[in-house]
Symmetry: C2
Subunit: 218 residues, 2 copies
DNA sequence: CGTTTCTTTGAATCCGGTCAAGGTCCGTGG
DNA sequence: CCACGGACCTTGACCGGATTCAAAGAAACG
């Protein structure tokens, strides 16, 4: 496992002193499993970057229904989903380390600050794209297609190796807009059809990538 | 009906020579009902602003399923949903007039160009927020709640007056991630419960705003 | 007006949700 | 090392909300 920034493995670490200005600007903060990184409706002047572990953004409706916005892995920027205040909260999925940058302080960092600003904007644009993809998933896809798409997305980060889910079934369900039971049932179905194989509840391998991605209409 | 930029009325016009730089930069283009403004997967160097009429952004899956990203009304910027190429296409809902700005040409416009750049970024941030709101709707809400939320959103633009739907039932359905039949049934239910009143299929008035917004959990 | 397109309604069906039990994994302490 | 407890995961049976299929009505258009 290299110390370089890598989207491929949820457990990889990001180098903190490479060319990337975010490696030097900001404060390193560790979070325990499940701990809140920022709250829904909190003022949003910070930007965050996953160093190790994984992070989810979630939003709760007043009656307890929950939607997960996205999952973030080492190297990913998060917390930019807003103009003034966060619509989602962010929590560490397991133990995680996060770099925190005060956005309004970026001007003090000269060139690095500028590069950081640019990084933030491009990350915001990517965020928008991912959210739109998520929209398609929630609006158009069946339970089976949702789960297939989710597994493909995870597996693609893990480049062929055994992929590891950083989140539990409830988080998957809340991300996909369905119940935990249906997630289980779809996982079973995909396994029975021989498209994926689970070793325990969090490790899996694609068995028939082509067939799986045929399920995921684009 | 004032000639000022106004989110409140889908048929309002935006002044083209006010303080807003977009009034002067860019080219005015009329589109016929249903006409495509830009295509899915098209290169995205343009920014657009609704002058009159209304616009929808849509994305088609290869098997014909359709998701509507959002609806845009006079004064709204659209077409910024991307880094490099459009994930959604845009079409005029009825006859519409749109200002088109070449993004890469903004640097030639001095101050106005800069102000425009800033406008674009803040519109992108707002776009992200709206998309996240849409995500909650698709992921968490029942058919009835979806329709109620949709009507409230429209009615709020129309400040108390008789609200006018710029889109047909199919567009509503594709925006809300449900079928046209279910949309009709929910509309009937809301009417039977006395929460809204339709005059024809496109004009309606809120009858019990409080009760309706109680349906829309936040 | 006649024709086409859009909207509404009804009946039957099905996918996913709900409710209820077991099962599995893991950490803790005896 | 094993027994216990709790959190998480899985499965089954049933239910119900939303879709599908079909057809009638209403509105828009030439």
């Amino acid at each position: 496992m290299t110390p370089q920034a890598s989207h491929s493995n949820p457990f990889a670490q990001v180098a903190e002193t490479d060319a990337d200005p975010l490696g030097r600007i900001g404060v390193r903060m560790p979070f325990a499993a499940g701990e809140e990184i920022y709250a829904q409706d909190e003022e949003a002047d910070m930007v965050y970057r996953v160093v190790s572990g994984a992070v989810r953004t979630t939003r709760l409706l007043s009656d307890g229904r929950r939607q997960i916005g996205d999952f973030y892995y080492p190297g990913d920027l998060f917390g930019l989903e807003s103009g003034t205040e966060h619509r989602f909260s962010a929590e560490a999925l397991g133990d995680a380390v996060v770099m925190v940058i005060k956005r309004s302080a970026l001007s003090h960092y000269g060139d690095d600050g500028l590069r950081m600003e640019r990084l933030i904007w491009s990350a915001t644009a990517r965020e928008l794209q991912r959210t739109q993809e998520h929209l398609m998933l929630l609006g158009c896809k069946s339970a089976c297609e949702k789960v297939a798409a989710f597994l493909l997305d995870i597996a693609d980060r893990a480049k062929g190796e055994l992929a590891v889910l950083a989140m539990g079934r409830q988080d998957m369900a809340d991300y996909l807009g369905m119940t935990i039971e249906t997630v289980c049932r779809m996982l079973r179905q995909l396994q029975d059809d021989g498209l994926v194989e689970f070793k325990g509840s969090r490790r899996f391998q694609l068995k028939q990538r082509a067939a799986l991605s045929r399920l995921v209409v684009v």
